[in-house]
Symmetry: C2
Subunit: 369 residues, 2 copies
Amino acid sequence: MVVETQIAKFDSIPLDCGATLAPVEIAYETYGKLNHTGSNAILVGHAFTGDAHAAGVSHEGKPGWWDNMIGPGKAFDTDRYFIICSNVLGGCQGTSGPGSVNPATGKPYAMSFPVITIRDMVRLQKLLVDSLGIKRLLSVAGGSMGGMQALEWAVSYPEMVRSAIPIATTWRHSAQQIAFNEVGRQAIMADPDWSQGDYYDTKPPARGLSVARMVGHITYMSDESMREKFGRRLREKEKFGFDFGVDFEVESYLRYRGNQFVSRFDANSYLYITKAEDYFDLTNGTGRLVDAFSSVDTRFLVISFTSDWLYPSYQSQEIVRVLRRINGDVAYCDLQSNYGHDAFLVDVAEQTELVRGFLDSTARATEAA
Amino acid sequence: MVVETQIAKFDSIPLDCGATLAPVEIAYETYGKLNHTGSNAILVGHAFTGDAHAAGVSHEGKPGWWDNMIGPGKAFDTDRYFIICSNVLGGCQGTSGPGSVNPATGKPYAMSFPVITIRDMVRLQKLLVDSLGIKRLLSVAGGSMGGMQALEWAVSYPEMVRSAIPIATTWRHSAQQIAFNEVGRQAIMADPDWSQGDYYDTKPPARGLSVARMVGHITYMSDESMREKFGRRLREKEKFGFDFGVDFEVESYLRYRGNQFVSRFDANSYLYITKAEDYFDLTNGTGRLVDAFSSVDTRFLVISFTSDWLYPSYQSQEIVRVLRRINGDVAYCDLQSNYGHDAFLVDVAEQTELVRGFLDSTARATEAA
């Protein structure tokens, strides 16, 4: 199915930093049909560098980033559910972000764009969901940063979230997670082409952004998956080059992925979105997850992956433990996979079964109620 | 004890790349006294950014990087053993490297310095050991890249190595290990100040080198140790800054360590030494560790640390498994530690007991023979 990205516009949105962003736009796609009672809507949140194009094929022929999970008969079955995916606030694929034009100046916001949070992203998503006439979401789902959004939805708007599926995620960013993001930010800001973020009329900080992306890619894979995919294989040579060109396949891959990324992602969005992740703490600094979940009446399906060392399983298990302690309705599975953090995007067979069953039982329970 | 770094000079050294480096210098320190039979000498290899100053206090008052392990009554007991530590070939702390003056041009080699390997480093160390009149080393020991040197010694010069103590290391660099090094190299080479390595008359690529070091520091620690040391603590503030200054302690630490590193380390040495690590494969690409160890008659003490994810324990265990298969003399311990890869430098209580006992039994066996 060829899908079209749509844009919704809103007058303004208040932000956690105290500022108000006005006006604000959000890019989104939908798949399937909303039923007459509006009870079959599912919001899918994308990960860091994702976009609204989660499923189907774009006009340019590009498949959605979770097309293996969303579609007729798939985990998020579009014959049955109405799926919404939007680009996050601060992004660079249609939703307001640092690259958007500031109406007050007629120029891109750049670093004058307010620093945003995961809660701000969710607040904008709520405006979208409201505008679509949906009173309650059957589910909010997503992996990585998309999982943070699912958790934040359940805590911020418990009455609107029947169920949540946080995958390969955390309830707060750890020191190590902050550290990796900080390295990416420093790589970008160290590039003279970054020009304090004011590069939209010139050239972007391509080298810095590329290095940031390379670090990211290592953290998305696992030691095992890198060994299987690359090992110590040389790239188009029989012997070491004894120079600083490409020797190993893994070097070639990282350089390629780094360079490729520059053409599709805005460096300032990289700064803003990583900052939102780092600020993410469902407990607002108290560390008391029990309190955060106190008014939550949402069913949860929590999924982690054994080889994911960027968002290790123990972080999901902390969520599950607290939900069980307060007699919450939670299913959990630590799926065996070698793909590291990328598993939620690529290793979807078991994930599909879990999500399908969970959504089915949630839908039945909702209809019965 | 105040120690002095000495310099030994040699006419030339052949290298794995086919070139010959001439002349060549090596910086080294020694601790303790060589006995009259020359049987108590131990060579210690340093890790990536280490230097010859392993123990004691320098004239500037700086303690050695393994001073908690080397000294009177310590693991490497200087009352009993004669310890040698030298700066590696390609380094920037006294041994010939890219920052050294090329006698042919009167200018620093920069990127015209030949690409070197761990075996080349060991070859130069052997010239040093020979020049000190030592026929056989009681032990070669080291952590991380120092452990690679210990392994390479045992394989390259089996008749000269009574025992080896490879710690927190590997017999070949994995795809993930290569990937992290490649990110560091790309960060340096992306910095315009790198100037193709020709920056010795101007300013060094400080921003790129700093980013490279930040990545390194994350890999040296563990998720646990970062949580314990930093958690989500803010740096001199009560609330998020909602800007791109320092929010978290961990950001402050990484920026500080990155900047500090620039003043003590040469960016080109960073490139050369990481390349040597990436090329390291004790089996020369065959993957047949059994063959590599076939003529080895060395006693081994192999140590790894449970939370070391940069040089994970399984890599040490592969070495141990093969040595046991060929009835090699090998002791192994996977030490419980939260400090990640840094453990071999900081968490030395149990390591001390293991090394002390192993050296003692090796010395006794040698004397009895």
